[in-house]
């Protein structure tokens, strides 16, 4: 088990290396020039070349990569071209809103989707099942920004219960922090509710036809316990897999949601950095995201062993 964990952690090194090379090349092979963007529309070629020299972009690509990756290994992600700050401090500022948003989104998604899925499976074929599944199709197909603006209109503009947009740090008060996160989290969670509820239902339906469910009923067990004690844990592996995937995919959703609700998080930072061709920032953010992906996968695999004693590494 610990040997396995160690080998998996060791395995992240080549993954991160590949990601680093890939993103580095991708940025430099795209036809655009950060120096020209920084210099502005009225700059002449000489000025642009000067800026390029300052940024170190005039050196051979291999040299640039060696310098950059050497710094990254010491924990130095460089300085942003655009924001004029170190990338590390930039990410440090932006990470709290994104983590908060992701946390609430997954929390809402799991708390709503799993019971919905269980209910749908339990009442398989009934109107409850059909409503849940209908909602799930809707959740898949309506884009995040549409849901976002609809919710803003309803709860912020029309009913005036919640703020329209913005973000408040935890340090400035938990009440305000939660209040401003409700709408964006709900918006973002819709698609995950649809996904997880569907998976829960399918997985549970399969388990409900197993012999041990019949055994539990033969013992005189009540239906609620049959569902939650016997069925759900056996159905959990695919559900946890989907939740893990959901967390990984959140990053894409975060970009749109943060734009709709003007939350100063990593999603917004990514968009801004890409528009400004801010190489150091883009590279660092992508590296961070890939690292998170790998860790989530590992965490999911570790969860399997907790859920099912037959799974051992």
């Amino acid at each position: 088990m610990y040997g396995y964990l160690f080998r998996r952690l060791l395995g992240t090194i080549p993954v991160m290396l590949v990601v680093a090379v890939f993103i580095f090349l991708m940025l430099r092979l795209t036809p655009s020039d950060p120096a020209a963007i920084i210099a502005g529309d009225n700059a002449n070629a000489e000025q642009v070349a000067k800026i390029r020299g300052q940024l170190g972009l005039d050196r051979p690509m291999i040299e640039q990569f060696v310098i950059w990756s050497g710094k990254v290994l010491t924990g130095d992600f460089g300085e942003s071209f655009f924001f004029k700050k170190t990338v590390a401090s930039l990410i440090g500022e932006r990470i709290e809103p994104t983590l908060s948003l992701a946390f609430f989104t997954i929390l809402i998604a799991v708390l709503v989707a799993v019971p919905l899925g269980v209910l749908a499976a339990h009442r398989h074929g009934s109107w409850v099942d059909r409503i849940v599944m209908g909602f799930s199709v809707l959740g898949f197909s309506v884009p995040v920004f549409v849901i976002g603006y609809l919710l803003i209109y309803l709860f912020a503009v029309y009913l005036n219960w919640l703020p329209v947009q913005g973000y408040q740090r935890i340090s400035e008060g938990i009440g305000g922090w939660v209040q401003r996160l409700i709408l964006p989290s709900v918006t973002l969670s819709v698609i995950y509710i649809a996904l997880i509820a569907r998976m829960t239902r399918t997985s549970l339906l399969e388990v409900l036809s197993e012999d041990y469910i019949r055994t539990a009923r033969a013992k005189g067990q009540i239906e609620r316990k049959v569902l939650f004690r016997h069925a759900l844990r056996n159905a959990a592996v695919p559900i946890v897999t989907v939740i893990g995937l959901g967390i990984a995919l959140l990053i894409g959703g975060v970009v749109v949601t943060e734009s709709v609700f003007t939350i100063p998080g990593l999603g917004r930072l990514t968009v801004d950095a890409v528009l400004a061709r801010d190489y150091p920032t883009i590279q660092a953010v992508i590296l961070l995201f890939s690292f998170v992906y790998v860790m989530i996968n590992l965490a999911v695999d570790m969860m399997y062993t907790l859920l099912d004693p037959r799974i051992r590494y």
Partner: protein, 543 residues
């Protein structure tokens, strides 16, 4: 007889929607007394399991419902009870044990907790008291080292131990009625013998009434006080076990009894044909120790197996699960690569051949699998399934279809069957199709891996007869893998007995059955249910 524990009167269970018949069971009358074991025997679709489920109140609600009749447990009517009342009775006054102990136990919960669950539901005992009670009942069902085993998960136990856990969970509150639905069908014979003994013992302990469902007359003769014979949802005949087994009144019962293969092998002329299949010092090893896993488990699934089969001969490999008998067969067909040793087909060694070199030989070794429900692709017609092989080996579609049509008459099916899908056939018909599919390749060696084990006895007899016909007609060398000594006695010229990867005994069927040499072979014979009984009673009078 004292007042019955269970009394079922005029019970009919309706099948909702369109089934092949409107009632799963109809007009059932039966009773189980205290301290009595009543066996319900029948083939698949006879309604024996539905009867058990109806008593337990566990009928699948969407598909079936009790229509008329009454079910009384210790005089109390169950059919009018609410769900909550029934739940309170299940586990306390009536309990059930199922066929497959692996799937009937929750794989992610400790076995002690699964026994304790019954106490949790129906008693006020605190966790410590529950644990004590669980340990007591685990000792009572003779589980080794209960203090350790109570915290084990089902996959860590053997099949027999799992079934003991199931029985412990069923009996922990001393129910008046125990329903056992084929509780030994999924187990090896030696394990089956132990579980049957345990059921007897536990039943005597508290004078429990037992409704024991089985398809196996051997088991019936071992355990039953009374027998109920069912066919197509109705009771055909019932009475004291001795009487029904010795002097069955109904034709159907006679037919069933006559279908049970005899333990006495018929006289056979030794086959002297040319050797087609031969293995020499065959090994198959699973698992490998490496730098990272120095303590990995190494299993010798097949250990130094040497055997030969002549043209026109049937060699049986007999053994329990895990004996390696299927692995031998799979190695010979090269479905798994052997670790070492030689496999000679017509003298040429195929064990080390490359896949390309082996390919032309592949059609000469054909396989029939155990479960005809899963070995045919449900989305392809029978015809497509049969012609696929010959077409892979160069026959045109027309020629292959012509061959398939001829084979349909060999396996006694009509040529129209080729255009239909597997689900439109019964289990026995599907196995005939699988035989035709194997024969379409014009093989020299036919391997049957438990080819009749999933079939009802009456169907089993027909398929065995067919296998014998095709062996004669095409002069095939047949390797017949089975766990069933009765079947082996009837179809094999010679048999090899396997235990833990090793052939412990090999000889002509009549020699091995008359005088088994190895102690394991003797143990197998001793465990065979109803070993001393011939079920020919009604054969002469009946069909």
């Amino acid at each position: 007889m004292s007042a019955p524990v269970l009394e079922v009167a005029n019970l009919s269970v309706a099948i909702k929607g369109s089934g092949d018949r409107p009632h799963a069971v109809r007009g059932i009358n039966l009773a189980v007394g205290a301290n009595e074991i009543v066996c319900v025997v029948g083939e698949s679709g006879s309604g024996k399991s539905v009867t058990a489920q109806a008593v337990m109140g566990l009928l699948p609600k969407a598909a079936m419902a009790v229509e008329t009749g009454s079910i009384r447990l210790e005089g109390e009517e169950l059919t009018t009870k609410s769900d909550a009342d029934l739940r309170a009775i299940r586990g306390t006054r009536m309990a059930m044990v199922f066929q497959e102990p692996m799937t009937a136990l929750n794989p992610v919960e400790r076995v002690g907790d699964q026994i304790g669950e019954v106490l949790e539901i129906h008693t006020d005992l605190d966790p410590r008291e529950r644990r004590q009670r669980v340990l007591e009942i685990m000792r009572a069902v003779h589980l080794p080292d209960p203090e350790q085993m109570i915290d084990a998960y089902p996959h860590q136990l053997s099949g027999g131990q799992r079934q003991r856990i199931m029985i412990a969970a069923a009996l922990v509150l001393d129910p008046a009625l125990l329903i056992a639905d084929e509780p030994t069908t999924a187990l090896d014979v030696t394990t089956q013998a132990q579980i049957l003994k345990l059921v007897r013992e536990m039943q005597g302990r508290k004078k429990t009434g037992v409704l024991f469902i089985t398809h196996d007359f051997g088991v019936v003769s071992e355990i039953a006080d009374r027998v109920v014979v069912m066919q197509l949802g109705r009771i055909v005949e019932q009475g004291p076990a001795e009487e029904v087994l010795r002097n069955p009144r109904e034709d159907y019962t006679r037919m069933l009894l006559a279908s049970v293969p005899s333990m006495t092998p018929p006289k056979r002329v030794p086959v002297t044909g040319q050797v087609v299949l031969q293995t020499e010092k065959l090994f198959k090893t699973y698992g490998k120790r490496s730098l990272f896993q120095p303590r990995a488990r190494i299993v010798n699934a097949v250990n130094d197996v040497s055997l030969l089969v002549r043209r026109g001969e049937t060699l049986g490999i007999v053994g329990e699960s895990g004996s390696g008998k299927s692995t031998v067969a799979r190695c010979i067909a090269r479905l798994v690569p052997p670790s070492s040793g030689a496999i000679k087909i017509d003298g040429s060694d195929i064990a080390g051949m490359t896949e390309a070199a082996f390919r032309p030989v592949r059609q000469r070794v054909q396989f029939i699998f155990q479960d005809p429900y899963r070995s045919l692709n449900p989305r392809r017609t029978v015809g497509e399934a049969i012609i696929e092989g010959p077409m892979n080996f160069g026959l045109s579609r027309g020629e292959a279809l012509q061959r398939a049509r001829e084979l349909m008459s060999v396996v006694h099916l009509s040529p129209e069957a080729l255009d239909r899908y597997p689900h439109q056939f019964s289990g026995g018909q599907r196995q005939r199709i699988c035989i035709a599919r194997a024969l379409a390749m014009r093989p020299e060696v036919l391997i049957g891996d438990e080819p009749v084990s999933a079939l009802d006895v009456s169907v089993q007899a027909q398929v065995l007869k067919l296998l014998d016909e095709v062996r004669r007609r095409f002069n095939l060398a047949v390797l017949f893998i089975t766990h069933d000594l009765r079947v082996a006695a009837q179809v094999c010229d010679r048999i090899a007995v396997m235990q833990r990867g090793v052939i412990v005994e090999q000889g002509t069927t009549s020699d091995v059955f008359a005088a088994p040499q190895h102690e394991y072979t003797r143990a197998l014979f001793d465990a065979a249910p109803g070993r001393n009984r011939e079920f020919f009673a009604g054969a002469a009078a009946g069909a």
